[in-house]
Structures are given as structure tokens and as C-alpha cells.
């Protein structure tokens, strides 16, 4: 995890034989030994102090990462629980209103039936009675030769008039009952609508508030991470500066010891003193930490490969290019990936307006130069969608052949390195929101745990031909 530094290798043990020989052969062996008497323990102390500073930094970074992981998890739970709570409240209100409406409906329908069923029975009884009377009267008319003095037409009229009167009476009762039913149901339905509408609005308001609140907390969390990482950096710099100062002081003491033992010459420079120890490893290590993160992120170890695989499969549906690239990164030592001709990734790139724009610029750049073969490498930029997520900036290597007959062939290949970088500037709008920033940083950390591997990938385009 920590680089072995050059001074420790050279001087922490006894003086190597070849150096000892060099000292013996020098003009001032006493001076060298006197200097080494100071330098050897100083180098040991240098290593101890430096390791302590770096261990302290590692410990602090692990603590920060642990806290970040815990807070992210807690925030996620809070958000999920709150959203679920708001949704449950909505459905409770809907179910309660539904229950109330059903009760009212059942009651009103019972009342309606209690009125209409007897009326209907009365009507049906009336009709049966009229039919009986009609049949009797008709028999008498037909058998007596009209002795009753009533004609068949009159019998029909009497029967139908009475039936219509009975039907109208039934309809009147039914309409009255329906009126009662609707006058009961209308306010009940209105109440149901009001309740459900209100609950829906309440839920949407609650959802928005929860999302806003948790998004804000996520931004604060990212800001906190940035601040704490910066503080840890500052503290490490301070500690290492102290180590360097102690080392510089030791060098001065060693120089003084050398001079005291030798008497002449009067300066260290004149003696050929040339220990390469004042610059180098510390600064290099510092750069490594910022750029490469050789530090361990134990707290994130549980964000395992399987989780990333799940995420990749999710994105394969929605963002197929980004999903496929992530999926490939989850292999151990993924080989360089070359998408074959006709692959959907190549097609997505070839069909993009950004690629068409690059092709146009390539032709424009070379047409004035006339027939010939032109090879060059240019950038391509994607600013939205799947290709932004997976690629954004990449290289196009091309060979353009402009023929004398004014035809051309363009062979182009997109080349990119799948490699996450950490985002330090959370408020500069470089990522689409705090969530993506956190996601990118998590991916960056996972890259250092070898859960996500960086790799090179290429997408050769189908040759483009045309006239110029």
C-alpha cells in the first residue's frame, strides 16, 4: 500500500559495502562517517514519521469513507421509508373513502329496492288481474253473441288503460326511489372524490418534499465528503512538511558533522555532497494519493462485485451502451474490448449526430488538400443520453482516402478508456446532480478495490464512402 522510499532502502541498514568502500577511498572518510552517524538515525526517524503521517491519513480517510457509507445508507433508508409512508397514507385514505362509499351505496340501494320491489309486485299483480278479467270478459263476449253489450274493442281499451295506469304508477314510484337514491349517492361520491383528490395531492406534495429534502441532504453529504477529504489532505501535507523540515534539519546537521570532521573544504557543495534526499518520494506519493488513490477504502469493501453487476444489468435495459461498458469492466483484468461490425454500440455511435459532425469536419479539413491518404486522431464529444453516460469524450482514429476520381473512403474507429475519476467539485455543476457525483465517486473508489477494472475499448465503424 505504501511505497518503500529510496532513503530507507539505502541507509536504514548498515552501510552497504560498495558505499563503505567509496568512503574509505574518499579524501575525508571521517567526515562521511560523522555525517552518516547523524543521517542513519535521521533516515530511520524519517521513515517512522512518514509512515505515522501516512497511517494517520489512511486512518482518517477510512473513517471518512466509513461515515460517508453509513450516511448514504441511512439517507437511503430514510428516503425509502418516507416515500413508503406517504404512499401508505394515500392508500389508507383511498381505502377508507372507498369503504364509506360502498356502505352508503349498499344502504341506498337497499332503500331503493325496498321501494321499487313492492311497487313492481303491485304492478305485476295488477297486470295478472287485468289479464284474468280480460280473458273472462272475452269468453263471455264470444259465447253469448254479445249479450253483455260490451264489445271486444272496449274490453281491450279498458284492459290497456288500466295497465298503462298501473305502469305509470310503478314508474312514478321508481323515479321517486331513484331520486332518493341519487340524492344519497351524489354527496357520497363527491365526498369520495374530494377525499381521494386531497390524498393524492397530499401524497405528491409529500413526495416532492421528501425528494427535495433527501437531495439536499445528499448534496450536503457530498460537500461534507469534499471538505473532510480536503482537511485530511491539508493535515497530511502539514505532517509531511514537518517530516521534511526534520529531514532538512538532519541534513544540515550531517553537513555540519561532515565539515567538522574534515576541516576543509568549507562547504558541502564543494565536497561533492550529493545525497538525493530532499525531493522526490514524498511529493510523488502525494500526487499518487490525489490521482491514483493508493490508499485502501476498507469501508467500501462491501459494495461488492455482485452489486455492480446488478447495476450493469439494470442499465443494459435503459442505457445499453453504458450498461455494456460497465458490465465488461466487472471482469478480472478485462481485455481490450473491440465491438465487432454491426454491434449495437457501433451502430449507436455511427447513427449519432456527433459522429456525423466529426465525419463532416474530417472531410472539410482534407478536401482542400486534394487526393491522398490522411491519417489523424481527433476528439468526439457526446453531451446527452446513453453515449454521454458511457463515453462523453473519446478519440476517433481515422484514415481518409480521397481518390482522384472524387470518391472517398473513410475508415474511423472510436477509442476510449473506461476509467472513472473522482469529482472534487460538487457545486460546479459538472455532474447531473449530487446523486451522480456520489455514484461516480463510489465507482472511483470501487475501481481502487478492483471491483471495477479500467480497460481500453474500441469501436471500428463501417467504412464510409462517398463523393467529394
Amino acid at each position: 500500500m505504501i511505497e518503500v522510499l529510496e532513503p530507507r532502502v539505502v541507509l536504514s541498514a548498515s552501510v552497504p559495502a560498495d558505499i563503505d568502500q567509496f568512503i574509505q577511498d574518499s579524501s575525508n572518510p571521517d567526515g562521511w562517517y560523522a555525517a552518516l552517524d547523524v543521517l542513519v538515525p535521521a533516515v530511520a526517524q524519517y521513515a517512522i514519521d512518514q509512515d505515522a503521517a501516512i497511517d494517520g491519513y489512511n486512518s482518517l480517510i477510512n473513517s471518512i469513507a466509513q461515515q460517508y457509507a453509513d450516511d448514504l445508507s441511512a439517507l437511503s433508508t430514510l428516503r425509502q421509508t418516507s416515500l413508503q409512508g406517504a404512499n401508505d397514507a394515500f392508500w389508507d385514505a383511498v381505502n377508507s373513502a372507498e369503504q364509506s362509499l360502498t356502505t352508503t351505496y349498499n344502504s341506498a340501494m337497499t332503500a331503493y329496492s325496498n321501494i321499487t320491489n313492492p311497487a313492481n309486485q303491485v304492478y305485476e299483480t295488477l297486470v295478472q288481474s287485468l289479464l284474468d278479467d280480460f280473458n273472462n270478459d272475452m269468453g263471455m263476449v264470444n259465447s253469448s253473441g254479445g249479450g253483455s253489450g260490451v264489445t271486444e274493442e272496449e274490453l281491450w281499451e279498458t284492459m290497456l288503460t288500466a295497465e298503462v295506469a298501473g305502469w305509470n304508477a310503478f314508474v312514478g314510484v321508481r323515479e321517486g326511489a331513484w331520486s332518493t337514491f341519487t340524492s344519497t349517492m351524489d354527496p357520497a361520491v363527491a365526498s369520495w372524490t374530494t377525499t381521494v383528490d386531497t390524498a393524492y395531492v397530499d401524497r405528491e406534495v409529500a413526495f416532492a418534499a421528501i425528494r427535495s429534502s433527501t437531495d439536499t441532504q445528499l448534496s450536503l453529504l457530498n460537500a461534507w465528503l469534499a471538505t473532510d477529504l480536503a482537511l485530511a489532505d491539508t493535515e497530511l501535507q502539514s505532517d509531511l512538511s514537518l517530516v521534511e523540515a526534520n529531514w532538512t534539519s538532519a541534513m544540515s546537521s550531517a553537513t555540519a558533522a561532515w565539515l567538522a570532521a574534515s576541516g576543509t573544504p568549507t562547504t558541502a557543495a564543494a565536497s561533492g555532497w550529493n545525497f538525493p534526499m530532499t525531493t522526490g518520494p514524498i511529493l510523488s506519493f502525494w500526487d499518487d494519493m490525489r490521482g491514483l488513490g493508493q490508499l485502501s477504502f476498507d469501508a467500501l469493501e462491501s459494495l461488492n462485485w455482485g452489486t455492480w453487476r446488478l447495476i450493469a444489468s439494470q442499465f443494459l435495459a435503459e442505457k445499453p451502451v453504458a450498461g455494456m461498458l460497465l458490465d465488461h469492466a466487472l471482469q478480472d483484468n478485462p481485455p481490450t474490448l473491440t465491438f465487432p461490425a454491426g454491434h449495437f454500440v457501433n451502430k449507436a455511435i455511427a447513427d449519432s449526430s456527433e459522429f456525423a459532425c466529426v465525419v463532416g469536419e474530417i472531410l472539410e479539413d482534407h478536401i482542400a488538400d486534394g487526393p491522398g491518404t490522411y491519417k489523424k486522431r481527433v476528439p468526439i464529444h457526446y453531451s446527452n443520453g446513453d453515449l454521454e453516460a458511457g463515453i462523453k469524450n473519446a478519440t476517433i482514429d481515422y484514415t481518409l482516402v480521397l481518390n482522384a476520381g472524387h470518391t472517398y473512403t473513410l475508415n474511423a474507429t472510436l477509442i476510449d478508456i473506461y476509467d472513472f475519476s473522482i469529482s472534487w467539485n460538487y457545486y460546479q455543476g459538472n455532474l447531473n446532480g449530487a446523486g451522480l457525483t456520489a455514484a461516480a465517486n463510489l465507482a472511483w473508489a470501487s475501481q481502487h478495490l478492483s471491483m471495477i477494472e479500467k480497460y481500453k475499448w474500441t469501436a471500428p465503424m463501417t467504412p464510409i464512402t462517398g463523393e467529394w
Binding site: A69, S73, D287, G291, E388, D419, S423, A439, A440
Partner: protein, 134 residues
């Protein structure tokens, strides 16, 4: 304390949007068809006259740079075969943007000498490429 980032947390931060390394990429115009471009975590170049060809551009990884109307100065950290920056291995470059001309690679001393020779203003200071992120 729980040492687990739950799946819920991961899906939560990934949200509804797409996700990939592309979102941390950026590019900025430096003038005269030169661009500072981050194409991945470690591939950060400066194009010269729009070109990323090896013989034209400032190669990856550009870790800091500065520029004015005429000159671009850049510090490059070398990469290993796996695109990891190599500890302590740096080179320096100067670009005359209007002339589309690149000078380098230089050591620290060579860079300072060339800078004086070309008359690159002292007012051009190099700063971290990440600080140019839009």
C-alpha cells in the same frame, strides 16, 4: 457501525438517470482550436489544432496547465501500460497555439530554459486540470 453500503443506497444514488464514467469527462476551449480534454480518469490531453495525434497533441496525463492568447504550458504525468499514472514521472510541454506548434517533452530544467527562450510570459501559471472543469 454498519460497514455496508446497501443495495438500496446504491440504487438510490444512481437514481433514475443513466450512469457511466462519461459524466466526469469534460473539455474546455483554450483558443486557436486547442482543447483541454478529459476522456477518462487518466486520459487528459491537450489537442493542438484540433488533433489528438501523437505527433500533435500534449499526451496524457496532463495534470496541470496554463495558457494565454498565444501559449499553452502543460505538465504531463507519464502513464504505464494500464493507463495508471507513474509515480514521480513528469514531462513538460509548451504549445504555440497560433503557430500550431508543440515543443517538448522537457524535463523541469529544459522546460524553464525553453520557456525563457520562447518568451512565454511568467504570468502564465499552471494549475490543476481539474480546476478547469466547467
Amino acid at each position: 457501525m454498519c460497514r455496508v453500503i446497501g443495495l438500496g443506497a446504491v440504487l438510490f444514488i444512481f437514481g433514475c438517470d443513466g450512469f457511466g464514467p462519461g459524466y466526469t469527462d469534460f473539455h474546455v476551449e483554450l483558443g486557436h482550436n486547442c482543447q483541454l480534454i478529459q476522456m477518462s480518469g487518466s486520459i487528459v490531453n491537450i489537442t493542438v489544432n484540433g488533433s489528438l495525434s501523437e505527433e500533435d497533441c500534449v499526451p496524457a496525463k496532463v495534470v496541470s496547465c496554463g495558457f494565454d492568447q498565444k501559449y499553452i504550458i502543460a505538465k504531463q504525468q507519464l502513464l504505464d501500460e494500464k493507463y495508471n499514472p507513474v509515480s514521480g514521472k513528469y514531462q513538460f510541454w509548451i504549445v504555440d497555439a497560433p503557430q500550431k506548434k508543440r515543443y517538448g517533452p522537457f524535463s523541469d530544467k529544459e522546460f524553464n530554459a525553453k520557456r525563457r527562450e520562447l518568451g512565454v510570459p511568467e504570468s502564465i501559471k499552471m494549475r490543476s486540470t481539474d480546476s478547469y472543469r466547467p
